[in-house]
């Protein structure tokens, strides 16, 4: 189920990405199209302007010629010549602008020839005036095709303008259509992307809720199982303890050994049960760290007191340095960390060995250290030993009676204090475990007054099996 949700969400995101990609491509194409279209609009306007210019110049030329034949003033003649010189330039510009349109090119050729003819008639008028004055011009006027040519030129330019306008209209409507289409594509892609995102989010939330529910059920299950196991264990542990004590009568040496094995394994089972319950509660955040100002030295002394019987049993000396350090921590939980570390250090020391505990200020926080001269930890295990059920040697829990949870629990406790736990070790020379907790300075809570009572209780908490 988990994998399916992850796949669906992944597929959702791929779809969203693809849709957004489509939106990008369509938008880019539409924009390029619109830019192209706007170029065409400009182009059309240039062509229209040029046609206008041509018509205007021709009328100007006609006016100049009229002026000349009426007044005989040579200024009109030079004006006419100027205009005449400008026309080929305009025509050639028109040709360049309509290179893509063979129909228009043909029209321009016709226009050019009509204009040529028109100018020829006007030249003729000027020449007539020069040889025979106004009379000659008027005589020529009757037969000259000038007038008809003017009409033809106007008709042709009008036709060309309307052609150009029609083209523009067609381009505009094509552009509008493609913009509309692009808008629809973009809109539907965005809607689909939104649906994909919503579906993914809903799936993720549903999955999270389910996982939380499973987590809750697991934690409840662990809690119930641990309680249910405790009841029969109480009877087994009690009766075995009484039998092994010899108070109820003696058994032979083999029987005594069997009872000893039974008792120590029941103890281990109880420790395991306590640790499993502990780590489950720490993990699910059910245990709140009740931090208050307390003395590091006092916590160390207390932990040493708890562990002294075990150390004496294994002929290990426990030593600590005086510490005046005040820390801000949950005292029972820090004692639990210290006893866990001490218990490991004792377990992995040779008889006659020494285990040291100290607490120092690093300026920023308090650093506790527990060091032994035991067998050390290989480089590759320095991280994994803090994981659940990960020991340096898998046979350690059987041989040395640990649960494989002590370091995981301790590190969890330290981390909930905002501290860190790590190990420095050299194979064959020993290990030092460090952890940090906050110093008390910035917290102004009073020193726990009732610590005497708390102390006797924490015995029951850290070692309910003793």
């Amino acid at each position: 189920m988990r994998l399916t949700v992850e796949r669906t969400v992944l597929a959702g995101f791929v779809i969203v990405l693809a849709l957004l990609g489509t939106v990008g491509i369509v938008s880019q194409r539409t924009i390029i199209g619109l830019i192209e279209d706007s170029k065409w609009v400009t182009h059309t306007h240039i062509v229209l302007e040029l046609l206008q210019q041509v018509s205007f110049r021709i009328s100007q030329a006609e006016a100049a010629v009229r002026g000349y034949v009426i007044t005989g003033d040579s200024t009109f003649e030079s004006q006419y010549d100027d205009i005449r010189r400008q026309i080929p330039e305009l025509i050639s510009e028109l040709r360049t602008q309509t290179l893509d349109n063979p129909g228009e090119q043909r029209d321009i050729t016709s226009l050019e020839s009509l204009i040529g003819k028109r100018f020829a008639t006007m030249d003729e008028g000027i020449r007539a005036h020069k040889s025979g004055g106004l009379q000659a011009v008027l005589a020529l006027g009757k037969t000259s095709p000038g007038r008809d040519l003017g009409v033809a030129i106007s008709a042709l330019t009008a036709h060309m303008r309307s052609d150009e306008e029609r083209l523009l209209e067609a381009r505009n409507s094509r552009a509008q259509l493609s913009a509309r289409r692009a808008f629809l594509v973009v809109l539907s892609a965005l809607v689909l992307a939104m649906i994909a995102v919503i579906v993914s989010v809903v799936l993720v939330f549903r999955d999270l809720t389910r996982r939380r529910e499973i987590e809750r059920m697991k934690s409840e299950f662990v809690s119930v199982v641990s309680h249910e196991l405790r009841t029969p264990l109480t009877s087994i542990h009690g009766s075995l303890g009484l039998l092994a004590s010899g108070l109820l009568g003696s058994v032979n040496a083999k029987g005594e050994r069997m009872l000893e094995i039974a008792v120590s394994n029941t103890d281990r089972l109880i420790r395991l049960l306590n640790d499993i319950l502990d780590i489950e509660k720490l993990d699910s955040g059910k245990i709140e760290m009740r931090q208050m100002q307390c003395s590091a030295g006092e916590l160390i002394d207390h932990a040493i007191e708890v562990m002294r019987p075990m150390a004496q049993n294994q002929q290990i000396a426990l030593t600590s340095r005086e510490s005046e350090l005040l820390i801000y921590a949950d005292r029972d939980r820090i004692i639990q960390c210290l006893t866990n570390l001490l218990s490991n250090a004792i377990k992995f020391s040779e008889p006659g060995g020494i285990v040291k505990v100290a607490a120092n200020s690093t300026g920023k926080d308090a650093r506790f250290e527990v060091s032994d001269k035991g067998r050390g930890i290989p480089e590759g295990k320095k991280q994994s030993i803090f994981e659940r059920f990960q020991q340096v040697d898998t046979s350690d829990s059987r041989k040395r009676g640990g649960t494989g949870l002590g370091l995981a629990i301790s590190r969890n406790i330290v981390e909930q204090h905002g501290g860190k736990m790590w190990v420095e070790s050299q194979l064959g020379k020993g290990s030092t475990f460090f952890f940090t907790v906050p110093l008390a300075q910035e917290h102004n809570s009073p020193l726990e007054a009732s610590y005497g009572i708390a102390r006797s209780e924490s015995n029951a908490e850290t070692h309910p099996a003793d």
């Binding site: 309680h227 542990h237 009690g238 908490e461 099996a465 003793d466």
Partner: protein, 124 residues
């Protein structure tokens, strides 16, 4: 004069083992009841020096039984120690707040149980 302890727990085996432990190790006299109701009745008639009371029992549980013992003039002064499988300090404080003299965690050590009771009740 040996101390007289009343043990209220719904688990027959736990009652038996606890009784043997306290009788053998400390030489105390132990009577027991399998439910809160029977326990209160026995407490009224035998007036024990202390009561060991299981927290989780079907029907009338430990805290309810304690309340009834406290409300009864005859049994109001008898110290009660809870036996609990829950070892969290919050749980211990909750039980102390409703009037328990102390709490003992299950499973307990049969050899030191009597001493733990003495310590809680300040018995010499």
């Amino acid at each position: 004069m040996p101390k007289h302890i009343l043990l209220i727990d719904d688990e027959d085996d736990i009652r038996e083992v606890t009784a043997v432990s306290l009788e053998t190790v400390a030489g105390w006299q132990v009577s027991s009841a399998g439910s809160g109701v029977a326990g209160i009745e026995l407490a009224r008639t035998s007036l024990p020096d202390a009561i060991l009371l299981d927290v989780m029992m079907p029907g009338q549980d430990g805290p309810a039984t304690l309340r009834l013992l406290r409300n009864d003039k005859i049994t109001a002064k008898i110290p009660v120690i809870f036996l609990t499988a829950k070892v969290q300090s919050i749980e211990r404080e909750r039980l102390r707040a409703i009037g328990a003299a102390g709490t003992l965690a299950k499973p307990f050590n049969p050899l030191t149980l009597a001493n733990q009771i003495k310590e809680i009740l300040d018995w010499q």
